[in-house]
């Protein structure tokens, strides 16, 4: 079930993402806004390391402010950013993450989608777990410390 947050264009779902529904809606919503470039990045859970899927926790207050700062950055370039992400379990070969950029010109969109996805990986307050034999195991070795980590040590 989709839940729109109070930040425009950030969508969080329980379970896997209905990719076609989301990307088709984004296309229909924004193709008439005179954006010449609409780029979407769809992340799909891979079958590897004997996992059945992935599971996610999200901390929404800081995710919202992180996303809002990206929306401001995109606006300076005449662009917008879009994002959908899953909460809870997502099985192999399903999608947990979609990022999108709409901009008047392709170069801005291509550069922005790269920066947006990389910064998302490094700073968005989302925690990933492997699902193995029905249990969640925190993926510490694939996780990135947020800038300023260790302040209390």
């Amino acid at each position: 079930m989709k839940m729109m947050t109070n930040i425009d264009y950030l969508e969080l779902y329980d379970g896997h993402l209905p990719v076609e529904t989301i990307t088709n809606r984004w296309y229909d919503d924004f193709r008439l806004s005179n954006y010449g470039a609409i780029i979407t990045f769809v992340g799909v859970v891979r079958d590897e390391n004997n996992i059945d899927g992935l599971s996610f926790d999200i901390y929404e207050p800081i995710l919202n402010s992180w996303f809002k700062s990206w929306q401001s950055k995109a606006k300076e370039k005449g662009a917008i950013v879009l994002m959908a992400h899953s909460r809870g379990d997502v099985l192999n070969h399903q999608s947990s993450y979609i990022a999108g950029v709409c901009s008047p010109k392709r170069r801005v969109a291509l550069e922005l989608i790269d920066e947006f996805v990389e910064d998302f990986k490094a700073n968005a307050p989302i925690w990933k777990y492997d699902i193995i034999n029905g249990k969640r195991e925190y993926a510490l070795d694939r996780s990135t410390q947020i800038s300023g980590a260790g302040l209390l040590s």
Binding site: Y59, I62, V117, N123, A124, I126, S143
Partner: protein, 73 residues
């Protein structure tokens, strides 16, 4: 009272403490062995804003959040 919340995989119930800055919080949390790894790798937010200032003042009703390493997508 200041509420301390531990996010994601830390898996610890919130604490309510009488503290006036993050240095005091650090001293208290260091006594909990189950948190030793998380103190080293977690970032810290006051009222949902990330901070790098251990001496930032904490007031009654503030919320401190500990954010362990992230991996979305």
């Amino acid at each position: 009272m200041v509420r301390i919340e531990f996010l994601g995989p830390i898996g610890k119930e919130p604490l309510d403490l009488n503290i006036s800055n993050l240095s005091e919080l650090s001293e208290i949390l260091k006594k909990d062995d189950s948190l030793s790894i998380w103190l080293k790798n977690s970032a810290c937010a006051i009222n949902d804003v990330l901070t790098n200032d251990k001496n930032a003042p904490l007031n009654d009703g503030d919320k401190v959040t500990m954010l362990p390493p992230v991996c979305g997508g």
